[in-house]
Symmetry: none
Subunit: 183 residues, 4 copies
DNA sequence: TATGAATGAGGATTCATTCAT
DNA sequence: TATGAATGAATCCTCATTCAT
């Protein structure tokens, strides 16, 4: 089961969704096509498993680094949020990219939505607690803006500009993003 | 040629990338499959043409509304940038969505890159001019942050949260984004 | 289109429904699998076409030999009915067998039902006209009994006992069946 | 072994021949697929066993009700024959139907032939004894006609027209069939 | 003897692309 | 130049059967 998921992920990264045929996946994972379908009822299910696994890994990272945040002051908390986002994207950037770009088609949008909603909630919960320091009415909007911004910045930074961005700049970017959001 | 592009766009929007077979496109556009291949050497080329057309339209909007910007003060200019981004996304949101989600698979990433680079340049050029009012060293980084943020916010706002975001909130969001970026 | 139907019929006869794969049919009929699906949207449709063609042929035989029947006396008419049934079964006995035995699965039961209903109606119509000579109340039942009997006798005679039944006996059987039904 | 046959029969009735996969049969009968193949060398063998069992049951009914017949007068005997045929078909009409429709494909025609030959023999034996009351030369032919007719009438009556045929009519049909055959 | 994971040939169907007319 | 019938590689998936434990 695990080699199947692993093989799927690898092929997804290397060749993209369309070239990831079930027969190919079976072959690469050293399993017969029959066995593949014993474990996963469809190609969709297999891809869903890849998504899930990736998200588990991310959420693990996120949760473990976010426990202390609620007691921290605004600016520190924000830096933490941004840093966590970067870390998450660095778990497996290439896979992250394929999943983000090619997967919506599968009808597994729910999975992704649920996932981003969870992140959204975590963030919102923090803002809720820090409401007094914020002077903001519309928490919903504020959360949306922040989460979107952080996600986009880290996503783009890691995926599209990894070469352009030196480590220094990355540090700067984290600062920048945090400051931005703190505004 | 134009009905082909148009038909492709329509089908892409209505049925998604996978259902957009060349035969179907030919049929819908009232052209024989043979002729389709006389104008476009491959399905990929056809989709690329759709992308290009969409981006032309966007750039047209962007350019025409951005000519005056260079002489404006920072905050006004920023609001203009954000507003333009929103407008651009509203040209044909559904098409924009499909293209954004499915196009990476076509291997036409260059197209997108070129495109976003152009936006990037325009923005950077403005910052260059306003350098003195900014107190920022790393223009490259600043541009990246701003463009990414604006793009992400408007994209998400228009595509994924159009129902949640009332017009009021949209206004607020534009403000917020502008303010964010101005920081 | 016609070679496809023909090839399907041949394969159906030779190897049975399960071995009649669309790829095989295409190959035998000297047509690419792609073309097959250009003419028939599914294997089912192809088999349906075979059924239809066979039934057309039978109904042609039946109608052309049954026009005069309505004016004939009971015993003559009955002999005609039986003779026609035999003829019909002899058009393509082997194909008739496969269709009768293996096709119900296709969900094209309607086709067959419609078909036998038409025969039923023809026969019933005759009885209706000859009601006075019959001394029978329940025409529905009488028709059912007669049609079923004739069909079964001819079917079995032609398909399962063709070797046992000499031509003499066939003649005798026709007599017998006619007499039976006339009773 | 018996649960296997039973499960096969049930699945055959419920889902048809094509959905009756050996894995499914094993699962339903609470036996591992491995054990299934220990008892039956192939799917075909399993289905053959179902046929055999069904025919055993029928023959049991037939024999037990037919012992007295040989001493009875022609018309009484005929009614008995018909009645027995109806009873036989009512043992498990649905199973009977599937077997009748789908079994030819299994290549177990011999089974059916043997079976109908046994019926044929029983009937012929009776006619042999009653030869003097009959005034018929060709006993072979007479038997064929009678057996086929009875079988077809009851089969059709029970399977295809069960709703159309009220109990009254059923009685009438039995009469009719008996009279027909007695002729 | 019982198990059930593993097998892989084979089936129906799709679709980008070609080429003779 | 326009047409559209023809192509066939490739796809997802099923299922009878085997065999190591």
């Amino acid at each position: 089961m695990d080699n199947l998921i692993e093989a799927t992920a690898r092929i997804l990264v290397k060749d993209g969704f369309d070239k990831a045929s079930t027969n190919r996946i079976a072959e690469v994972s050293g399993v017969s096509i029959g066995s593949l379908y014993q474990y996963f009822p469809s190609k969709e299910a297999l891809v869903a498993a890849v998504i899930e696994r990736h998200q588990q890994q991310i959420m693990q990272t996120v949760r473990s680094t976010l426990t202390q945040v609620s007691t921290q002051p605004l600016d520190k908390a924000m830096r933490r949020f941004v840093a966590v986002a970067v870390e998450a994207h660095r778990l497996d950037p290439q896979l992250h990219r394929v999943l983000a770009e090619q997967i919506p088609r599968v009808g597994k949008l729910e999975k992704l939505e649920t996932f981003s909603r969870e992140n959204f909630s975590l963030f919102r919960a923090y803002l809720e607690g820090a409401r007094d320091d914020l002077g903001v009415d519309d928490l919903e909007l504020a959360s949306f803006v922040c989460v979107t911004t952080i996600e986009a910045l880290t996503h783009n930074a890691v995926l599209h500009h990894s070469k352009v961005l030196t480590d220094d700049r990355m540090e700067a970017l984290i600062d920048e993003a945090a400051r931005l959001v703190t505004g």
